[in-house]
Symmetry: C2
Subunit: 499 residues, 2 copies
Amino acid sequence: MKQLKEILLNIRKLASAESVLHWDMETYMPEGGGAFRGDVMAYLSLLTHQMATGAPLRDALARHIDPETGELVNITLNDDEKRIVQLTRKDLQKQLVLPDAFVEEMSKHVSATQQVWTKARKNNDFAAFAPYLEKMIELKKREADYYGYEDKPYDALLDGFEPGMTTDRIAALFGELKPRLVGLVDRITAAPPIDDRPLRQTFDTQEQWKFGMGIAKAIGLDMTRARQDMSAHPFTTGFHPDDVRITTRLDETMLLSGLFSTIHESGHAMYEQGLPKAHFGTPLCEAASFGIHESQSRLWENVIGRSKAFWEYALPVLKTHFPQLQDVDLADWYRMINIVKPSLIRVEADEVTYSLHIMLRFDIESRMMNEGLKVADLPEIWNAKIKDYFGIVPKNDAEGVLQDVHWSFGGIGYFPSYAMGNLYGAQIMNTAEKDIPAFWDKVRSGDFSALKHWLNEKVHARGRYYDPEALIKVISGAPLSAEPFMDYLEKKYSEIYRL
Amino acid sequence: MKQLKEILLNIRKLASAESVLHWDMETYMPEGGGAFRGDVMAYLSLLTHQMATGAPLRDALARHIDPETGELVNITLNDDEKRIVQLTRKDLQKQLVLPDAFVEEMSKHVSATQQVWTKARKNNDFAAFAPYLEKMIELKKREADYYGYEDKPYDALLDGFEPGMTTDRIAALFGELKPRLVGLVDRITAAPPIDDRPLRQTFDTQEQWKFGMGIAKAIGLDMTRARQDMSAHPFTTGFHPDDVRITTRLDETMLLSGLFSTIHESGHAMYEQGLPKAHFGTPLCEAASFGIHESQSRLWENVIGRSKAFWEYALPVLKTHFPQLQDVDLADWYRMINIVKPSLIRVEADEVTYSLHIMLRFDIESRMMNEGLKVADLPEIWNAKIKDYFGIVPKNDAEGVLQDVHWSFGGIGYFPSYAMGNLYGAQIMNTAEKDIPAFWDKVRSGDFSALKHWLNEKVHARGRYYDPEALIKVISGAPLSAEPFMDYLEKKYSEIYRL
């Protein structure tokens, strides 16, 4: 195992270097640096790929697991080691089954499609984008065939984001979710609107920064092993559990946006900091899935950060930064930070409507991949569904079917992870509330350490040892379900909107 | 040549990635990131070394130049290409002649020596450091033997910093310099001291930052291809001519320190930005030498930045940032930013005394390498020379022979480049003053573009095409001499100190 781990660690060093270069590109790099930076990152990426598929790794791995059958051939491995060789084989196979010519064709098509999409969205021109998306789906079907799948082609792609998830499983979960969610949105839309005038002021960005940093530290982000910077789009990246970076953006007219982005990214970053360092370099020191990662950011942002208990602690602190909020009381504040408003744009959606945006995309993606849904029909289907869910209709495709970048870079199968994060998060929080004595009292007093340590133990330290559904079952003792999430939403928003 | 250039460019990509990681380490990296960062950088460094000495490069090179004799075998090369293959062969040979066992021994000894030096300086314990320095000199003599030399062992090391320079050549230049320099210092020390009370105030660091950035831009640093950040020790690093980073440190009690550091590093950075991009990846797009690099920083910092003409333009600007300086007049300001004060510490030395600190180190280094000077005798020799040059004596070895980090990392032969930078810079500026019409009038009006473009053409764009002495001769039409530097100093300081 020593040799295998050494090769994996070297691969991780190169990937980590590339991440630093990417972080710098998004935060500090002067404009002029872009062209060469792209070349350097592409070269590091090539070297990483070569090492991750090269003979030394394959030979070292074959001493422990049969590359063809996946059967373990080294009988002395402990459970961690078994999982390491199984995941390494899985990751390796995914790279090996794609012929070089296909990888090159895909890479060229992604480049072209991203450019076309950028222009198409700007010009609100779906017709220009359509042939590129059609070709993308065709390539993605071929990719799915290379990977192989038991039931449906889309399953092969989902596995890259949520290992073990299938079209049917997600459809079942979303099927549970949808009627209750649509019903809740309907009741909320019918309720009297919440007054948010106190938020419609300008808020000094330096004070926003200080408050946000204070909250990040308070909830448990270890700043000796992390830092925050500014970037155009907030993100989290981990070079190692001891060096994690988050970014935010601040706008003096949008207090909540910057604040909740910092809490969201801190949730991601605490996951990265809590991964099992002893296994660094191996797949065990990686996140369980995109959706589990998203569960960590969303539970801190929404379940904690938008709770009344949290603001019992945080509102007085906020008022020291912004005396202009002196007269706002907790009950009103709690309502206005939880306003639900059906909107056309996914990234602007609130905690309640967000999952509906995802379901729409899941429905379209899965049908394109599995059932031959025609790209030409997308705008019509999109607009009909939005009308159905929210009672509003996009003025044009730019604020409809063209709004997201994901399809243009080939990220088919990515969207469901966002909504899965909500489901995972609610089920995890349900268990945490039972496990941690006087949980909400602790939150009210600004003590988040019990939750952080609980998550460290139950989620973070387990890295990629379990696939996401298995992880949720181990943590909560129950199969994954949409119920905890819906129960949480209905309870919370019935109070807020006095339904 | 295409294949050779491609390999060289790939090597440069890895080296550039390592530079980004180093920059991040010195500027933003959280404390926790240090351990793994060291591992990543060491691994990138190893990969770079492997590529820079590997068969693909050697084979590609051998098609153009005989690796043994250095004779060109491809007769179709143009002058640039000839120089590229010659320099590549030279750099390659330097790596190939060192046996792996020697490289490992040196690397271990450097690690150990750096730790010992840090402690020894702190505890003022030369005896603890002495055996490590002895071993270092022994290793450096072996290194010199591996490289080979015509006359003296120290020459082989000097060539790594100032290609073509020898012990005798530098001794001759320093011999010219020394009597005039010591005489000037004597006359200055005897003159009445300059009143610098206006500098003994506190200066807001944010305003210092703004002023410094303004000056960097004014003298010609292209901020679309550069940026400045804070670090413990100011430095410049170039990832590519289009992405250059400088750092500074600011202290509210030391206005001049932060300002002149920004100008100094901007001089380095403009050199990096001006290197011939078309040759990027090849040795032609590298600096001619450490000393030529230092000439660029020092001429902007001292010859321009500490001139009266410069402050005719800059003092009114400075006053808008610091109204507390409102009553300072130009003549007084000019005198107080040029105070000469013999001191024990090299890095705190002024423009006049600095070169004497270097000569002392050159004398000791060259005698250790060439004449068997005993390490045990160093403190005594050091203190006697300092007394001779400045009339003061270190209280202890921490402010004497133990003060510099260079010997501990094996940088024997590095020091002379600092003083050579002064000589190169003065001779370059001499020529610039003649070539550029109404030169000082331009400076007085805040127009630095003529000088910047002149340096771009005469120095920067030539990259490593010439060895340093040849470069100076091509630029100035005369052999390198200490005279321009001494003439400049004597004229400037006779006025300032009214000698």
